[in-house]
Amino acid sequence: MSTAFVLLGLLARGPRHGYELKREHDNRLPRARPLAFGQVYATIGRLIRDGLIDEAGQDKGAGPERMSYVLTEQGREKLAGWLAAVEEPAPHVQSTVLTKVIVALFGSDDAVAARAYLSAQRRAHVNRMRELTKERSDPQASIADVAAADYAIQHLDADVRWMQTTLDRVDALHREVARS
């Protein structure tokens, strides 16, 4: 969904070809999954259908990669609306990690399996945080790389703090799950 808005944002800087949109998307959002060309052209097709962008002319040669696109007024308004809208602060309470902890406590005599899982998950999270910390400390890292790594590190850190707290209360959680 947000891919469409990223393309609108890139087109707000001026007309672009499809391959330029893909290249700028991948360069400017270093931690995002690179866009497949198929996805770029499918998204462009939907944006044209919805009147948010328009074809701005074709360079010499044939094929969709020669076509350049431009933002429409409607597209500009749509982009401004999206940029101004606050995202719902989703608490992610139904995460797979929580589900695994609860399932590990079902029909179990103690919290050993849940505790072992939480400890292993915490280790995996801290290992990933270590990799990201190395990447952000690389002298070649751009400010965008550092900001993207910080975003991931701080979200992983929130998970780690939740795991630590849950480790502290996993026995009480087991008693509650076993009772119900």
Binding site: S119, R122, R123, H125, V126, N127, M129, R130, L132, T133, S137, I153, Q154, L156, D157, V160, R161, Q164, D168
Partner: protein
């Protein structure tokens, strides 16, 4: 693993009826950066103080390069702390009346260096850690991040083999904390310095090569591989 520089075996240490360490064993290799982490009261600072020879465990032993600290006299341990160990605390503990350059030079003067040489080495370290501009400032005239980098320069000026850091960024905002951790870990790696980094914060632990996670005075989980 490289040569072990510090080995702790079966450490037990109590404060009154509270057991801070319950038979803890850990080995730290030369040049490693190890985070000791866990919640408040888990024994991590007590472990650091035992490893640094600041306190003596009730039982168990700490060996530095194979030599038991418990068999050294207080004078020998004090000399070891002055020459081979550097210590950095949450609050830099700079001497309020001294400018940065004199604060950093203190361990050198205590080690018998001439003032001129101490000053030159101090300035060199202040420069390396990016705080040369506060060389003649008093601690009260520095930001928290600058003061902590000056304290780090003081801990590193003797080029110790092991640096002990106890919550070194606990009093700093996140950006200043990051800068201190970046300079600490990059200079330690350049010099193959061993670092024992005590923290309750997983973001800080992520700067280390591995983590020793404590809970109630014992190691909770297997050490995290690099």
């Amino acid at each position: 693993m490289n040569d072990p520089v510090l080995q702790a075996e079966g450490l037990v240490r109590s404060y009154g009826k509270t057991q801070a360490l319950r038979g803890l064993s850990v080995t730290i290799a030369s040049g490693e950066i190890v985070a000791v982490s866990g919640p408040s009261g888990c024994g991590k600072s007590t472990l650091l103080h035992c490893l640094a020879g600041i306190i003596v465990p009730d039982s168990g032993a700490v060996r530095y390069r194979g030599q038991p600290l418990g068999e050294m006299s207080e004078k020998q341990r004090s000399r070891l702390r002055r020459t081979s160990f550097g210590v950095l605390f949450q609050f830099g503990q700079l001497v309020a009346e001294l400018p940065a350059v004199d604060n950093v030079g203190l361990p050198l003067l205590l080690g018998g260096y001439q003032k001129r040489i101490a000053d030159s080495k101090s300035l060199e370290w202040l420069q390396r850690l990016g705080v040369a501009e506060v060389a003649s400032a008093l601690p009260s005239e520095m930001s928290g991040g600058q003061a902590q980098r000056v304290a780090l320069a003081r801990a590193m000026v003797t080029e110790p083999e092991v640096l002990f850091a106890d919550e070194p960024t606990g009093a700093l905002d996140s950006l200043a904390g990051e800068q201190v951790l970046e300079v600490l870990t990059s200079h330690a790696r350049q010099r193959n310095m061993t670092v024992v980094l005590v923290t309750h914060d997983a973001k800080v632990a992520a700067y280390a090569d591995r983590e020793v996670l404590l809970r109630d005075g014992a190691q909770l989980a297997a050490e995290v591989p690099a």
